[in-house]
Subunit: 206 residues, 2 copies
Amino acid sequence: MTQTDLDVAPKLGRRRDPSLDGTILDATLDVLAETGYDGMTIDMVAARAKAGKATVYRRWTSKPELVLDAVACMKYKDVDLSSLPDTGTLRGDLVAMIKPPSIRDSERKLKVMAGIVSMLTRSPELADAAYDALVAPRAAANRVFFQRAIDRGEIPADADIERLCMIGPAMASYRTLMLRKAVDREFLISVIDGVILPAAGVTATA
Amino acid sequence: MTQTDLDVAPKLGRRRDPSLDGTILDATLDVLAETGYDGMTIDMVAARAKAGKATVYRRWTSKPELVLDAVACMKYKDVDLSSLPDTGTLRGDLVAMIKPPSIRDSERKLKVMAGIVSMLTRSPELADAAYDALVAPRAAANRVFFQRAIDRGEIPADADIERLCMIGPAMASYRTLMLRKAVDREFLISVIDGVILPAAGVTATA
DNA sequence: TATATACGGTACTGTGGAGTTCCGGATATC
DNA sequence: GATATCCGGAACTCCACAGTACCGTATATA
């Protein structure tokens, strides 16, 4: 975390409302997704969070720090690896990941990514945070699915899991950032059946 | 083009150096690729082009106009569809597109794209220009290759060409923008053999 | 040679946003 | 109740950059 002044907590006076941290970080992500890093102003974030600008600066020292924290915090609101779907087939697992809440979550993450892409060169710390929050979790989930498929004998044991993990995210990112089209269920299914499964070496079913 | 004041060419005085247009546009793309749209200043562009800021504003009315023109002009410096490689096999054609100059060109385009992604929401005109210059040309080239493969009977006639065209660009974009790794020959070959050809339904060779 | 425009360069103006300060009101401890 | 901190909000300072104006010089026409 960014602020380290709470360990010497003040004994007098009104306490900081802890829930405001999350509210402000969430507002930051919203504005980031809508207008991008440079288009975002602290006033926008404060207004969206229904807070004062001073309240934001009481908790984060600067705009870069705020954005870094907001991006990093997305990491923890992700699907945890212990509760992934397990349908018995690779296709079933991949399709089971397509759910309205998951789609909306991914969509927001992609928009946030679009808003900070140009910053990644200038700020290695932000680049690391973005990787941990936006790239790694989805890759980790896919890795589980492909490993299961190998263990089952559903796909060849020498399949390049790391490359397979990237296909879905890559197609979704390209469609959002470059083509500016919606990533809907139909698209995701067509990527699974038309790209991922053939690449994985699944002997054509469906 | 942006400027329309040359058709009524002045008969007196020093003429505008036509080569400066290209120099300034090229400098704009360099700065755009290095620092992104918002990080770019007109002074940077002028310095890189070894020109004065006034010279830039004599030719383009504003920063958005300059960037729009610079992005749009990349469209014309692309591979023309009439001189594409024709090796006789889909894999051969795709591999033949991997050449050092082509890789460097693509790398720069991807960095420019990264620099303007967050602007695409704010400027539909820039979004269109970026699509025409960065997305469409590569898709058009791939479309030729896949159509040839269908005509040859190398891949199924009902293959989804539009989806296949995007795989390469999507994987390359993701690797550059999100993973921040270099798109080298080895990576591209692995994408062709491990993703594109299986997705196209090529009966495994190699 | 006189005139008119482009050139690189510098100095200027105007503006939007980062970050700070202060206010009246709310909420906590002692 | 006294004190101290947080709150939302508004007003402020400061600065970087977009865009303009001007200078001395270079290059064109007539």
